[in-house]
């Protein structure tokens, strides 16, 4: 069965889009057919990681929600980022970066059922093994919808008090929405932190498994939004952690 996996963080800047892109790309590089939907309609950005320039985008998620196109038309094949010996496929469904379109969708909202139907069509028409949803930080309407329709919710947090608080709220809300699987990724963990202790504390605090403790990586920071780290540094220990998280979300 295809999986819908939402990646969420309560606050911005946690590395949510980077984590989404890296996990999705590793699965595609391993032969899976993967879709990535940018539902961060207010501040889209994941297209940059896949090297998709604004002018290359013919249709966006916004166009589908306004009935201007079919959902399949919004799916951009970005598998070239995997390299020439690619085994799988990766499709990106970007949100519009045009300010007018961003404000319109925020003002008018959209039909949750239409978006849900669109996701199902994407899975069927593209033959996807997994559909990743890169959400907007916080617990707005789009994010709540993403949580409802996900098989797995991945919550990303940094080891600081504000993220701990926000994650606590997200976990409780997600439980009320009966999300089947909920896992945590602790990102940007300084070197001096004892990763085993952080994992144990976070798991104890939220009652959810931690699937990766990602270090505050200089390499990752340098690459920032310029590409997908795991593809550029396949032998890095950080990539091994992404690979481990990718395996868990597909279980």
């Amino acid at each position: 069965m295809s999986k819908i996996i939402s990646l969420h963080s309560f606050r911005g800047g946690t590395g949510k889009s980077n984590t989404t892109a890296n996990i999705a790309a590793l699965l595609a590089a391993g032969g899976r057919r993967v879709g990535v939907v940018d539902t961060d309609i207010q501040s889209p950005g994941i297209h940059i990681l896949f090297g998709l320039a604004g002018e290359q985008v013919s249709h966006t998620l916004n166009d589908y929600l306004w009935g201007k196109c079919e959902i399949a038309q919004t799916a951009h094949d970005v598998s070239s980022c995997l390299g020439t010996d690619q085994k799988g496929k990766i499709y990106l469904i970007p949100s519009s970066i045009r300010p007018g379109e961003i404000t319109r969708v925020l003002r008018e909202g959209y039909d949750p059922q239409l978006l849900t139907t669109g996701f199902r069509q994407l899975i069927d028409e593209l033959g996807l093994d997994a559909l990743f949803i890169d959400t907007h930080p916080g617990l707005g309407e789009q994010t709540l919808l993403s949580i409802v329709i996900s098989h797995t919710l991945v919550i990303i947090l940094r080891p600081d008090q504000q993220d701990y608080e926000g994650t606590g709220v997200t976990v409780q809300v997600a439980r009320k929405l009966k999300v089947p699987n909920m896992v945590l990724v602790v990102n940007k963990v300084p070197d001096m932190f004892d990763t085993a202790a952080v994992k144990a504390q976070v798991e104890r605090a939220y009652g959810c498994p931690v699937i990766a403790i990602l270090p505050h990586s200089e390499e990752l920071m340098t690459l920032a939004s310029g590409g997908i780290f795991a593809l550029r540094y396949p032998d890095s220990p950080v990539t091994a952690l992404y690979r481990q998280a990718a395996a868990v979300v597909m279980e």
Partner: protein, 237 residues
């Protein structure tokens, strides 16, 4: 070695010559050791710290050239200065001794004033050499300490004696140790803070935030539609 005086090994199989040399050296303020053949000389050199060797050539069992050869093969003894004092004063013997690494070559009929001057020069050279070796050894300790800081194995007391030096290397060791100790202490404090880090959640505030979301109209509508939406996504709708 204290000042211009040293601890000197006299090697000669002729007891009278040996005693005469020893007496003269003691009168000049040196301390002495004696060996009556090559084997004994090597044994003494390996068990006692000398600053200089006065070495005879013609000796039974192992001659002075062989002693010199063995010393040059030994990592610890190779830099020990040797003055050959021999009855063989032909040019060939002198050249051979110098080529084998002797600092000087004097005939047995030496002038005591000349021997005194040669001994003084050798000891001064040895003192400078010892200083250089000590300096380089301490430089290595500072560079090793830098590697240890990187490897996070630095012992804050590792450079304590280098830091006692009054020269620039001592100053470097003091500054380095202080900085490394400060970094180490800061890391320890942070580690301690991390170990004490608790995920303290304000449950009342969290409950208010959760209620704010779950009591909203959107949430309630979404919750009501959740099952339908899940059926759509699972292809059953």
């Amino acid at each position: 070695m204290t000042g211009e005086h040293g601890h000197i090994l006299v090697v000669d199989d002729h007891r009278t010559t040996r005693l005469k040399l020893c007496l003269g050296l003691k009168q000049q303020g040196h301390t002495v050791g004696e060996a009556e053949n090559g084997m004994q000389a090597l044994e003494k050199l390996r068990t006692e710290a000398f600053d200089l060797v006065l070495l005879d050539i013609l000796m039974p069992e192992m001659d002075g050239y062989q002693v010199l050869g063995k010393m040059k093969e030994d990592r610890i003894l190779r830099d020990m200065p040797v003055i050959i004092i021999s009855a063989m004063d032909d040019l060939e013997s002198v050249v051979k001794g110098i080529e084998l690494g002797a600092e000087d070559y004097l005939p047995k009929t030496f002038d005591p004033v000349l021997l005194r001057a040669r001994i003084g020069a050798c000891l001064e050279k040895k003192r400078l050499r010892d200083q250089e070796v000590d300096y380089l050894r301490n430089v290595t300790r500072v560079t090793d300490a830098a590697a240890a800081v990187e490897a996070q194995t630095f012992d804050t007391q590792a450079l304590a004696d280098v830091a006692d030096r009054t020269d620039a290397l001592g100053q470097l060791a003091r500054v380095f140790s202080r900085m490394a100790s400060e970094i180490y202490a800061r890391e320890q404090r942070l580690k301690q803070q991390v170990q004490q880090l608790r995920i303290e959640l304000d449950e009342a505030r969290q409950a208010r935030q959760v209620a704010e979301i779950t009591e909203s109209d959107y949430f309630q509508q979404l919750e009501a539609k959740a099952q339908d939406l899940r059926q759509i996504i699972d292809g059953q709708g």
